[in-house]
């Protein structure tokens, strides 16, 4: 079965949207955190692919590129038990109430 990420040749008549957005700070930092984890042997490209490629189709198609990366980051750091989901929930609530 074709994976959700495997787009080559899928019927699509959408024109290519050539508009480019300046990356936002959080997008740059998600990109960088993946790289730093990689340099420490705490994450590999293959692990990241496995997470992104198993996102359900509807969500995959709605998420932006770096949302998929952020999702992969969270999945990998919780799988590796570097962080727990509960901790991330708590920290996020703290940061948002600041």
């Amino acid at each position: 079965m074709r994976g959700v990420h495997d787009r080559g040749g899928l019927p699509d008549d959408t024109p290519i949207n050539r508009e480019e957005h300046e990356l936002m700070d959080w997008e740059r930092r998600v990109d960088a955190m993946h790289a730093v984890l990689g340099s420490k042997g705490l994450r590999s490209t293959d692990q990241m692919r496995r997470v992104i490629e198993s996102i359900p189709k509807d969500e995959y198609e709605q998420m932006t590129y770096y949302e998929r990366w952020a999702f992969a980051l969270e999945t990998l750091v919780t799988e590796n038990e570097l962080l727990s989901t509960a901790e991330i929930d708590k920290k996020m609530a703290e940061l948002m109430s600041e």
């Binding site: 990420h5 495997d6 787009r7 080559g8 040749g9 899928l10 019927p11 699509d12 959408t14 024109p15 290519i16 949207n17 050539r18 508009e19 480019e20 957005h21 990356l23 936002m24 959080w26 740059r28 930092r29 998600v30 990109d31 960088a32 955190m33 790289a35 730093v36 984890l37 990689g38 420490k40 705490l42 490209t45 293959d46 692919r49 992104i52 490629e53 996102i55 359900p56 969500e59 198609e61 709605q62 998420m63 932006t64 590129y65 770096y66 949302e67 952020a70 999702f71 980051l73 969270e74 750091v77 570097l82 962080l83 901790e87 991330i88 920290k91 996020m92 703290e94 940061l95 948002m96």
Partner: protein, 211 residues
């Protein structure tokens, strides 16, 4: 997958963000915790951000310009890109995926995609543009490359063979576009100024020498 906040972006190909999304806040929390627990430092993250910010298509353009000027360099570059680059002082990071450089000619035109995601020669061109990562580009360019290139303003004559190269996590491609006419006597810098990012992906030609 969290469903707490599914933002509907409407046009799913658009990578643009309107407001701090759920994922942005999530990422901020993860960063704070990774730093707090000593998994990584803010400096390490910052220097990685700066390292990627400092890479741009200007690096690839210089290399293309040199290949146009120096046949023996071009031959080596096409045969073994990482060795050829090392000889001119471009040491690619050890974890860099295999890099393959291909050349467009009057008979063959190459265009690069990553149908599975976004694999791209970041070490030479910086981060990939939004459209390169879009679902439309990834699905369409392998079946209708000429139509897609026309959307970028490139109309190729029918007798030119089009080769679409699909990148992977382990193999990245960069295109040496055709050298523009009227550039005899140009030095590396003036040639590099004509080499656009999109021409090194293969969706357009370099700038013309007379603009």
């Amino acid at each position: 997958m969290s469903n707490e906040q599914q933002v509907n972006h409407g046009d799913h190909d658009s990578e643009s963000e309107i407001q701090p999304s759920y994922y942005a806040s999530r990422a901020k929390a993860i960063e704070a915790l990774l730093v707090q627990k000593g998994v990584m430092t803010t400096n390490e993250i910052n220097s990685e951000v700066n390292a990627m910010d400092s890479k741009s298509p200007a690096d690839g353009a210089k290399i293309v310009a040199l290949a146009w000027l120096d046949d023996s360099f071009k031959t080596k570059l096409l045969a073994n890109a990482s060795e050829a680059l090392e000889e001119i002082g471009y040491k690619l990071p050890d974890e860099t995926p295999y890099l393959k450089v291909v050349e467009n000619s009057e008979d063959i035109h190459h265009v690069v995609v990553c149908t599975l995601c976004s694999c791209y020669p970041r070490m030479l061109l910086g981060r990939p543009p939004d459209w390169y990562k879009s679902l439309a580009y990834r699905s369409r360019v392998v079946v209708s490359p000429r139509e897609v290139m026309e959307e970028f303003g490139l109309r190729l004559s029918d007798d030119i063979e089009v080769r679409v190269l699909d990148s992977t996590a382990d193999l990245r491609y960069m295109v040496i576009p055709r050298r523009p006419l009227g550039t005899d006597g140009f030095d590396q810098e003036s040639l590099a100024a004509l080499v656009t990012r999109d021409s090194m992906i293969g969706v357009s030609d370099p700038l013309s020498a007379h603009f």
